[in-house]
Symmetry: C2
Subunit: 546 residues, 2 copies
């Protein structure tokens, strides 16, 4: 039996395009001699459809698309994911399901049992968990078809009290198929391979796994669909961050070594780089925009975002705006211009002094006698925000936000100032990782000027300001933040690791107090196991760690 895995980039709710893409790839799989072509979880509507699922006509459009797809399943069978109605009155209204389509008709329906409801996942918000399991007969083989999380309950501290494959194995299937929408983070590819290999080993079955690829606003799918033999050995690994369709022969998977090519494991930073480029690209094409604008300060964060945007959209579609203030150093403008010259994007220089002075003058009466402080720093940052949004509004540019994860975490940024933007490109990348990313971007020659990388970080909002005036060394800060955010450790547990008590408490308090700012931050491209945004839901008015 020849099985095609179709790893495609869907667009949420774009039924016309998703359906057309699926039908095209049914044709492609057929032309390559496949008996069966497998598409991802919720392929028909894209993942995650979120509260679109609460609209009846959205679910009806999914069913309509499936019927349109079914017509094309002649001489080839197809597995495709979609939400379907729960016909039983009690319980949630929908199932997260897969259709097995053969001879133009839906031959079997599989429903997802384990519904991820943690981090960025909300599946129990919409779906009833399945409790009935049955294999699918096809060409003399029994297929155990499951959906994504259904195979993830295999570790030592299982999240669910049941395990779908423990039921399906009772029918002695010949192979496992799993369709997924498994979002990327730079640690996830190895976890994924391990969990799937454990399943192949435990059930002694070959396993075919197909993932989505592409970004849906902040959630990025990396692809990397996989095939295992019954010993848990990876027999094939599909492309990362690209669409891909490959056809595998079941007998060869079981019997032939090194038949199918596998990519090399990429470094964390390389994965983050590719994920962010895809994240930008998909945000733009899926929302119908082509051109980006960003503020270019001469610092490393905006330089990295500028470079990523140029790779994603082409330098001709990127407008960098330099907005020096009276506190900007000479090297800032030079460093920014060096980048622009290296990279070939468009630029404007707009000094903000005039606007900042206007606000000083307008506020002279209420502020009479009060010293320059954070207020005036914020005014400058917000003047830049207005300039960037004006460029965005006038020319249809999408504003890219350039805040990094370290400053998002501790609130070292100005709301409605440098926190403006439609999408946060590096808001899930710690400052220490930004330096690595800059070096990676420069690996084939200088793009980001050396001086931008080596000079001490500064917001340049008052004379001789340095980040280190307000923040601990990024090397220490990022370690503590990682323990708190990614590892979800409280202060006592972090202090027990040997970090300074006062520093840990100060940092955690800053993180907590910045919730109100982060609530209003743009969506952030997610590349880590715990990003700010929909995967981290904290009270704003809460006292814990305050």
């Amino acid at each position: 039996m020849k099985i095609a895995l179709a790893q495609l980039n869907y667009h949420i709710g774009n039924f016309e395009q998703n359906t057309q893409k699926i039908i095209e790839h049914i044709g492609l799989a057929k032309s390559k001699g496949a008996d069966l072509v497998v598409f991802a979880e919720l392929a028909i509507c894209g993942y995650p459809p979120r509260d679109f699922l609460e609209f009846e006509d959205f679910v009806a459009l999914c069913e309509k698309a499936a019927q349109e797809i079914a017509v094309h399943c002649t001489d080839i069978a197809c597995v495709v994911g979609l939400p379907i109605k729960n016909e039983v009155l009690a319980g949630k209204d929908l199932y997260n399901a897969a259709y097995f389509i053969e001879n133009g008709k839906v031959k079997a329906v599989v429903r997802k049992a384990l519904l991820p409801t943690y981090d960025v996942f909300d599946e129990y918000r919409y779906f009833e968990p399945n409790t009935k399991f049955e294999c699918i007969g096809f060409k003399g083989k029994k297929i155990a078809l499951t959906i994504c999380e259904d195979l993830w309950n295999i570790n030592d501290n299982p999240l669910y009290v049941s395990c779908p494959m423990d039921e399906l194995i009772k029918e002695s299937p010949d192979l496992m198929l799993n369709i997924a929408a498994s979002p990327f983070n730079y640690r996830h590819d190895e976890d994924r391979i391990q969990i799937l290999a454990d399943n192949a080993k435990k059930y002694q079955l070959p396993l075919f796994y197909v993932n989505q690829v592409g970004a849906q606003t902040e959630i990025i799918f990396d692809g990397g669909s996989l095939v295992f033999d019954e010993t848990g050995t990876v027999k094939a690994e599909m492309k990362y961050f690209e669409q891909d369709l490959q056809v595998f022969d079941l007998e060869e998977i079981q019997n032939v070594k090194n038949k199918y090519p596998q990519p090399e494991r990429a470094s964390d930073i390389m994965q983050i780089h590719d994920a962010l480029v895809m994240g930008i690209q998909d945000y733009f094409w899926k929302s119908g925009f082509k051109k980006a604008v960003l503020g270019l300060s001469g610092g490393i964060d905006s330089a990295v975002v500028c470079a990523l945007a140029c790779r994603a959209l082409g330098p001709e579609n990127v407008m960098a705006v330099l907005m020096p203030s009276k506190y900007s150093s000479d090297h800032s403008v030079k460093d920014a211009l060096d980048l622009v010259n290296n990279i070939g994007c468009k630029h404007e220089i707009i000094e903000i002094k005039q606007a900042a002075d206007a606000f000083d003058s307008m506020l002279a009466k209420p502020f009479a006698g009060l010293p320059f402080n954070l207020t005036e720093e914020n005014i400058q940052a917000r003047c830049r925000g207005i300039v960037l949004m004006a460029m965005s509004n006038k020319f249809g540019y999408v504003l890219l936000n350039t805040s990094n994860k370290s400053e998002c975490a501790v609130g070292y940024g100005t709301l409605y100032g440098d926190m403006c933007g439609a999408i946060g490109v590096i808001g899930d990348v710690y400052k220490t990782q930004i330096f690595e990313l800059a070096r990676y971007i420069n690996k084939d020659g200088e793009i980001i000027p050396e001086n931008t990388i080596v000079k001490p970080p500064s917001a340049e909002l008052r004379p001789d300001q340095k980040d280190s005036d307000s923040l601990p060394d990024y090397g220490i800060l990022d370690q503590i933040l990682f323990q708190h955010i990614e590892m979800q450790k409280g202060s006592q547990a972090i202090i027990a690791q040997g970090f300074d008590e006062a520093l840990v408490k100060r940092i955690l308090k800053m993180v907590n107090l910045a919730e109100f700012k982060r609530y209003q931050t743009p969506p952030i491209l997610r590349v880590s196991p715990k990003a700010f945004g929909m995967g981290r839901r904290m009270p704003i008015v809460g006292k814990y760690m305050d």
Copy 2:
């Protein structure tokens, strides 16, 4: 048996204060002769604790507080809600639980079975559903104790496949207790009474129900704890939007008519008014602030917010900033000043022309030859945002956002301009309801100037602008929005109700396109069954209804 219901205002994660409050009310209940005092769901940590629950020490602090409370439960028993660990390896790590405490010790533990995971609720994100049920023996009576949603599976289209009371009733209990954290919306009090009455009737048992009161950022609890006899008749109804403790005699509830006072049903607008005042108050005290600032345009939205803020915080703590532009009408400043005089709050007048002109001049080169458009309108709105944030930063005022639900819905507002603020006061109140709210505020004499109420709404960002230039009549707009947002109807279903097809499609498209703006909007006090914010989770880059 005498049962005290303690309806209290908790602060999420403020263990010290919550514990002290609970202990005080144990003493108060004891002094009033109660045998048992009942506190709400998750009373110890406040509801909803959200991802604080993922920190082990947060859960440990809950247990520690419970042990401290237990010490005070002598000569009185107590029911109190808290999260507890799931000691079984498989499944989620926590239960949403209640301790039944007697003689200083935890005598029984009840776990919640039905976990709301819809709208603003995320309980299955954290908690394992309970599957074992047992009544609690106390003073010769058998108590069927359940937690909030456990009693809500009683309607014709049940959300869950099981029903906890169907299990507990097998032990023939004498009464039902239900502890809740049931958020307010202006339609919820009647639903709540109906559902609880249906339970009392179905199981033929008296029912004691205690709710939380107070606002947790956007989620508002209205209190209104209830007692029913076994026929489903309401025997007592506690205060709304206030803390309350009342003691009820079980025998009298069953046998004596009209023993306990019940409030009159309040109108929707009166409830919304009281909820918003409490929402402002609690945001301030729980986050440690006292003073508010807002922009006062002379229009009805900011006037209503100003009046609500003065009621919540006292006029001496409210700073209204008038920021006329060259497009502001004469009556705008007069109307705003009339309000300030009526209400007695502080005010400043800061003209924005100077800053707007500065931006025009700074952008003259890139904008050369291009006409005045939305860009320049937005610049004005954003200049106002900067002024308000500067006042906030300099003086420690919290900025109140004054956007209404109609404009939030269709994106008729400027991101980083009039969409600034720490908390959205009326973002869940449609424009047509704002007029009712203004009339209600004026019921005992003019506070909001008549001209503010009767003049045609305008953003005053270009000459002679009216809202009606860009938007349909609010009477029609709000009806269509209500069908789409609250009733979750798609375009076809709304058109089928008789609304104009082109208009419906235009409005739904506006709603969808505004997702990216709403993502960055402040948290909005929730008063409707479907508010923007955590209860409505839409894709940003999605194509459905585009």
